[in-house]
Amino acid sequence: MARKVSTRRKAIMTAIAWVIAFLIFFPILWTIILSFKSEGDAIKSPLQVLTSHWSFESYFVVQERSDYFRHFWNSVVISLGSTLIALVIAIPAAWAMAFVPGKRTKDVLMWMLSTKMMPAVGVLVPIYLMFRDWGLLDTRIGLVAVLCLMNLPIVIWMLYTYFKEIPNDILEAARMDGATLSSEILYVLTPMAVPGIASTLLLNVILAWNEAFWTLNLTAAKAAPLTAFIAAYSSPEGLFYAKLSAASTLAIAPILILGWFSQKQLVRGLTFGAVK
């Protein structure tokens, strides 16, 4: 890592990296820019867009039409709730698979992942009927349950691969010292597992936040998250680029900011068993 490189090489690499990073980020940047424009200006050519008047008007219009904060809060509750419950269920399972592997551990893991392959569109009606009978339609608890189950395989997989990298010797040493199972988990394993758990949490909050099929189809007004908020702006009559941009910016901003601030943690535990 700490190899010396010439300044010239570093400058060239910097230039290339910045250009590519800018291109990749550009669609998001452009959306943010358009959100500060009027509808008429938003469809002009790029240069005219940049030189036109800036305003917050679209944001006011969007907030007036649909209550952003209620949708935002629903998104927070649903994504965080589903992930936390999934973690509670998954941590023991992942621990057991990582430290007491059986002959079938790999198969069980693969089977768990394969449950994610069912196309959601095909099972909407059965799930909808169940939700209706249990009174779960348009409730946050219903969505928490669905998203929790949906992401559970990924959560288990991530934790498992992370736990596996914790050296077994340390645990054995603890056992030698007479640590019980619970104190072993609490005092030895947990501190070492925190980065892995943190990045699992982050990744799954992102996945749950962005999930747009179940959240849109199982809610109406009370539990509707930001995905439903977006659906109100996607193709209305007349010009809509500025309002769509404002709504999009509002919908992705929280997770974007969270992701940026926690990217170190996200990266640290994000190995998926990819690193050895």
């Binding site: 890592m1 990749i24 980020f25 998001i28 452009w30 358009l34 269920i89 992701g259 990819a274 690193v275």
Partner: protein, 290 residues
Amino acid sequence: MSTQASRAAARLMISPSVILLLLWMAVPLGMTLWFSFQRYNLLMPGQGGFTGWDNYYYFLTDPAFFTALKNTLVLVGGVLLITVVGGILLALLLDQQIFGQGIVRVLVIAPFFVMPTVSALVWKNMFFNPVNGIFAHIAQAIGLPPFDFLAQAPMLSITLIVAWQWLPFATLILLTALQSLDSEQLEAAEMDGAGAFSRFFYIMLPHLARAATVVILIQTIFLLSTFAEILVTTNGGPGNASTTLTYLVYVQSLLQFDVGGGAAGGIIAVILANIVAIFLMRMIGKNLEA
């Protein structure tokens, strides 16, 4: 070094997950299987009854079925190709010493945080639109006729959108793997006179293989169910040009509200997905053991 007791404890710890997932898989799957043999259209109550293999027959003989199969493969394959190759290149770049590395990394991973619906809407309207989109404005500025991406090259356009979303994910995993590479090994190779290319092909690439398989596995699972991007941009068209298997199931079950037909399509999709899964897991399994 596991004792009888710890084995029992382990089983106890795994069981909630297994039972929940079993229910989550078995109950909808069971219901879907049941519905797939029923004549059941939500819009026509009272027309029920067992219908044998009819729903399967109609789904498999749908004129769009083989196109959908092909498009699904094109989409998954295309996105995997772009993200793995692009991800390796990006990871190599981000691994270099550059000014403002933190900011560059933040910009590169940003697309991963964007909702699929939002990214599809943004690409469709602000970029691909042949009159008001940025590409149209650029084409106009240099005197070319505007290209109507979503009509002329629908699969390519959708693949690009999806690849844009998944590129950061691949990059992150591959970067993590790259950074774990022993730098002494690289330096030793360099001393032995190995050029940049041979260092890349003989040391880095084999090291990245494991990360790449993980990227492929995780992404395939998500890509097989790509749906929002197609619904928002092309609605599966023009014609059937961008209809995938998932989209075809959607047409049956939520456009036609033919629960029976949709269920049959769902079962077929599950079977095909599992064939892909078995194939994948063979590959991954080998790589993960190594």
